[in-house]
């Protein structure tokens, strides 16, 4: 669903980055595993995201019902924020706070899931 570049409007700024709410989401690799999320007004601000299902088959938090009214669309996808170190082996994903996107409205929000067992830094490949 996100094979092309999209403009995203964040209904709340990402925590830590107040003031930026317009971003461009763009595929990085041809397989659709990695996306860059770059602030329109601050292009040096760039996150790397991955579709939630790409590395975490069983990750399916129940957020669609809560965020659909906020994003104005039912077609909710979840993207995880990655922190990259030197390679794939130490790359981590934030499972506690995924980014919910409605492709139809172009709106997005980072959701904090109220489940303390979900880590903010989980390795994306099993060791």
């Amino acid at each position: 669903m996100m094979e092309r570049t999209r403009q995203l409007h964040f209904v709340e700024p990402l925590p830590g980055f107040a003031g930026e709410d317009e971003y461009t989401l763009e595929p990085i690799d041809p397989r659709g595993l990695l996306f860059s999320l770059r602030a329109v007004n601050e292009p040096s601000l760039r996150f790397v995201l991955t579709p939630a299902e790409a590395f975490f088959d069983d990750y399916n938090p129940d957020v669609a019902g809560a965020v659909a009214p906020v994003l104005g669309g039912e077609d909710i996808s979840l993207l995880l924020v990655l922190t990259l170190g030197v390679g794939l082996a130490d790359a981590t994903a934030n499972l506690r706070a995924p980014i919910a996107v409605s492709a139809s409205t172009g709106r997005a929000v980072q959701v904090v899931i109220d489940d303390e067992t979900l880590p903010m830094r989980e390795r994306i490949v099993r060791q």
């Binding site: 709340e12 990402l14 925590p15 830590g16 980055f17 990085i28 690799d29 041809p30 397989r31 659709g32 595993l33 990695l34 860059s36 601000l45 760039r46 996150f47 790397v48 579709p51 299902e53 790409a54 009214p69 906020v70 924020v81 990655l82 922190t83 990259l84 170190g85 030197v86 390679g87 794939l88 790359a91 934030n94 506690r96 706070a97 980072q110 904090v112 903010m120 830094r121």
Partner: protein
Amino acid sequence: MLILTRRVGESVIVGDDIVISVIEVRGDAVRIGIQAPRSVSVHREEVYLELQRANEQAASSSDAAIGAVVEELMGEDRPERD
């Protein structure tokens, strides 16, 4: 900072439309209920601060790191995904 005392079942109102209620007090733990409009985000403070740090760290991933990870991913024999 306003400091006040409330009993179980009592509330405080913040602005026009945010209501914070004391639901239960047990030992040093207090259960509170927060009613706020959708436009107001409510977070546990320590979780919010940790998320700020995690996001700041995530935003510092270098081009070189991205390139290295892409290379590793493309080298793997992973199935295509829709």
